[in-house]
């Protein structure tokens, strides 16, 4: 976990985002051809994903997004893995990881939900469920 408290709109990527070219680091827009959120931006979002995916060039794209001001606000990983660990260490944004099997955040949180996460206590709250108009990303 990375400490800190943030609130923001969730963007749920149930199949993660692929490494190497999965996002445009200048804008934070998801480019991966088969991502359900293709065309949406990670910038300023609470990113919810099972873990990392694909190339070992995973953290560097999020790190580049940090440098260009397009980083997410916070991160929720169902289960931490090494690529996600490096990305969290580089971005230093509040991060909560390793949820019980029956509390998978990728199922419980919907894109557009307003979420608060506390990286120190590990608590994640859904403050307001998404209306359909909030889901455009």
């Amino acid at each position: 976990m990375i400490p800190g408290i943030v609130e923001g709109q969730a963007l749920v990527c149930p199949k993660s985002i692929t490494g190497w070219g999965g996002i445009d680091p200048k804008t934070g827009i998801i480019k991966e051809y088969e991502n359900v959120n293709r065309g949406k931006s990670i910038k300023g979002k609470i990113l919810v994903m099972p873990g990392s995916k694909g190339s070992n060039g995973w953290s560097c794209y999020f790190g580049a997004a940090r440098v260009s001001g397009a980083a997410p606000l916070g991160w929720i990983f169902t289960r931490i893995d090494s690529s996600a660990g490096v990305a969290a260490a580089v971005l230093q944004i509040p991060t909560v990881v390793d949820f019980p099997e029956d509390r998978d955040p990728c199922r419980l949180i919907k894109s557009g939900d307003r979420v608060r996460l506390n990286g120190r206590s590990g608590k994640v709250e859904i403050l307001e469920a998404a209306g359909s108009e909030d889901e455009s990303g």
Partner: protein
């Protein structure tokens, strides 16, 4: 809290210089995120050198400033001028060919900038090799050896085929480890974490390299985070070339870092051996339909003109180049098609020596080194209207970069398409089973 040995305490106190101190600080932050209690010594590393496109978010003329901000994640400038003395460090691919820039419509200025990045790494102790296939030049971690690599397929190969110990980490962390010589003792660096978690029953025929590619995707796609599959099936005739294709595609389709192949990989003399007495968390069945779905997800439908055919992801070995020559002899590539093979420059020298380069060039093709289309990106790709690859990884990567058609085929179909200048339905897999 991470327990440190005397060497690590000395680094953390800055007694070996600011660069090693920053790298160890980052490794400790990474270890804290993972929950690792100690570090381990890294003696093999692959690092990602060159003026890669994602670095463009930090406009600067000095490699040290870019390195500090992007790879060390610090605001101060910390020169990259040393590495860990006990570590064998090679460079991964860069965004430029080893020798040429004109065929890729890259500017001479960019090629020079890339060379400066490589020179910075060379001075620090990195052997400039420029390949995603470091084993072709002797980088081979042995069983139990701790390694880091920026090539995801090599992470899976290192753990699975050689019994070495490594995690996927990332580009920044590979540099940190190559410089300070440490990585968190976590994940695959810990013996008991290497047991299989899922059993995969392969009921499909898997023979060609393309089918091993498809198998990697078919297994990887449904795998949960940090799963370790043990794969069972009729794999008579499997070769290292097959396994490296499997590992490469498995890695990019999931976050899998290790797989066992029943009876073939060293920690899987049997399925029970790979499971180490644990009950599997799940079972997957891969049939012909699963391979077909994997193919259809990557290869675009229809027919059409093509002008770009690329072979060699991972970089070809000399045997694969020879086989291309055998099939290509007497044929001529369409003048509208840029036909290319990718490898590492010492293998290119072998191709020159054996006459393979001459055969490929006489047919209208080229052998390039040290990079790949996906790493070169838009400056190269935007010149073309129809793409054909013999690699699922490369095809998938380019599909995220372009809206133009991208096709995926076995080597012979790729060559047939390059000769015809056109992608036809008959090139699709399966061709004749």
């Amino acid at each position: 809290m991470v327990r440190l040995d005397d060497y690590e305490k000395r680094l953390l106190a800055g007694k070996e210089g600011r660069l090693k101190q920053v790298c160890l600080e980052n490794i400790l932050r990474y270890a804290e995120v993972l929950g690792a209690g100690q570090l381990c010594e890294v003696t093999k590393a692959i690092v990602f050198c060159g003026a890669h496109n994602y670095l463009n978010v930090k406009p600067s003329d000095t490699p040290d400033e870019i390195f500090s901000r992007m790879n060390l994640a610090v605001e101060e400038i910390v020169p990259f001028d040393q590495t860990y003395e006990n570590c064998y460090i090679q460079s991964c691919i860069s965004p430029c060919d080893q020798y040429e820039h004109e065929p890729f419509t890259q500017s001479g200025e960019f090629f020079k900038k890339n060379a400066e990045f490589l020179e910075q790494a060379r001075r620090a102790g990195v052997i400039i090799t420029g390949t995603c296939a470091p084993y072709l030049t002797g980088w081979l971690p042995i069983r139990g050896e701790h390694f880091v690599t920026t090539e995801s397929g090599v992470t899976v190969m290192g753990n699975s085929i050689w019994g070495a110990m490594g995690n996927s980490d990332g580009i920044e962390a590979a540099f940190w480890s190559a410089i300070c010589g440490r990585t968190p003792k976590w994940g695959n660096h810990v013996e008991e974490n290497r047991a299989a978690t899922h059993v995969v029953e392969v009921q499909a025929q898997v023979n060609s390299l393309l089918e091993w590619d498809l198998l990697g995707r078919a297994i990887g796609d449904p795998l949960p985070t940090r799963a370790v599959p043990v794969i069972r099936g009729d794999f008579r005739g499997v070769t290292f070339q097959c396994l490296r294709q499997l590992c490469t595609t498995l890695a990019i389709s999931s976050n899998c870092e290790m797989c066992h192949l029943d009876g073939y990989t060293p920690e899987a003399r049997s399925v029970e051996d790979a499971l180490r007495g644990k009950k599997p968390a799940g079972t997957l069945v891969i049939d012909e339909q699963a391979l077909q779905q994997a193919y259809e997800a990557v290869c675009d439908p229809g027919e059409g003109e093509i002008d770009f055919v690329s072979l060699g992801c991972p970089h070809y070995d000399i045997d694969q180049i020879k086989r291309v020559c055998d099939y290509l002899k007497g044929k001529h590539i369409s003048p509208n098609v840029h036909f290319m093979l990718w490898t590492v420059y010492p293998i290119k020298a072998m191709a020159d020596e054996n006459g393979y380069t001459r055969i490929i060039e006489a047919a209208g093709g080229h052998i390039y080194t040290s990079s790949c289309p996906g790493s070169m990106g838009e400056v190269f790709l935007s010149n073309y209207n129809g793409f054909v690859f013999d690699s699922l990884k490369q095809a998938g990567s380019i599909k995220s970069e372009t809206s133009r058609p991208v096709y995926f085929a076995d080597v012979q179909a790729c060559i047939d398409a390059a000769v015809a200048g056109r992608w036809k339905v008959k090139h699709r897999w399966p061709r004749s089973r």
